[in-house]
Assembly symmetry: C2
Homo-oligomer: 148 residues x 2
């Protein structure tokens, strides 16, 4: 049982650039830029378990969110690790920190949020795209945890 | 930009069987069975954003959790969709429902929880393994949402 081949320096640079594009798009509240690394048929699971399908829906839902609660938010990459799992498929695990968001009553997020995105990158037509991604807030607890 | 080839009936059956093994393992509180579909080098992000690496850690952390808060919990598959994204790589999106868990003070989960797991399956040595997975609780809200 072997993992994917080692990642070329070029692939690594391209994937890291795509991750930066997402975050730069978020911070300039330009959701077309934010969504541009997603494949046309990508899916996205947000921290509330909402599941969006296709780059157009991923973009549009984020446009709605940036009209209000995220309009002044800043998202920072804390760490980004890459792991090839098959030919032309790389997992990116991105930990992030967010400040400046508004906190809606149904989800009283703290003023400083941290979380973790898994983004599954695939190489298609000589470019790396996010095929699928999921995002989860990191909740600090001292117990073993409370999750399946 | 094209997605993976259509999934064979056999691959589909094998992946669905692996998902059932996870859930059967959970419900019989047998964490060796639960963890058996995970590749040796798999990673797992739980609903609290904890990130575990390798099948041994995934198993051991779940053993700890099933000593108490999940000891009487029942996890049910609501839906499981499969999407091939590259040769030998298939995304499984599994929605679940859980009852019978205890609710720790740091995370006051409701008596009936629902959530969504993305599991990235890879084919290695003629068998399908979970290379990576992430789990998020589904929170019902009527607003556009509050998530990056």
């Amino acid at each position: 049982m072997t993992a994917g081949a080692p990642l070329s320096t070029q692939a690594q640079a391209e994937i890291q650039a795509a991750v930066r594009t997402m975050f730069d798009g978020w911070n300039s509240h330009d959701m077309t830029m934010f969504a541009s690394p997603f494949a046309e048929d990508a899916d996205f699971v947000n921290v509330l378990g909402m599941h969006w399908f296709g780059r157009p829906e991923i973009e549009e839902r984020h446009v709605e969110l940036h009209r209000k609660i995220f309009r002044n938010s800043i998202l920072k990459i804390l760490n980004c690790t890459l792991r090839p799992i098959a030919a032309g498929v790389v997992l990116a695990h991105i930990t992030w920190e967010m400040t400046g968001h508004e906190t809606p009553p149904f989800a009283p997020f703290p003023p400083l949020r941290q979380g973790l995105i898994t983004a599954v990158f695939v190489e298609r037509d000589g470019r790396w795209w996010i095929a699928s991604s999921q995002n989860t807030d990191i909740v600090s607890v001292s117990l073993p945890g409370a999750s399946p």
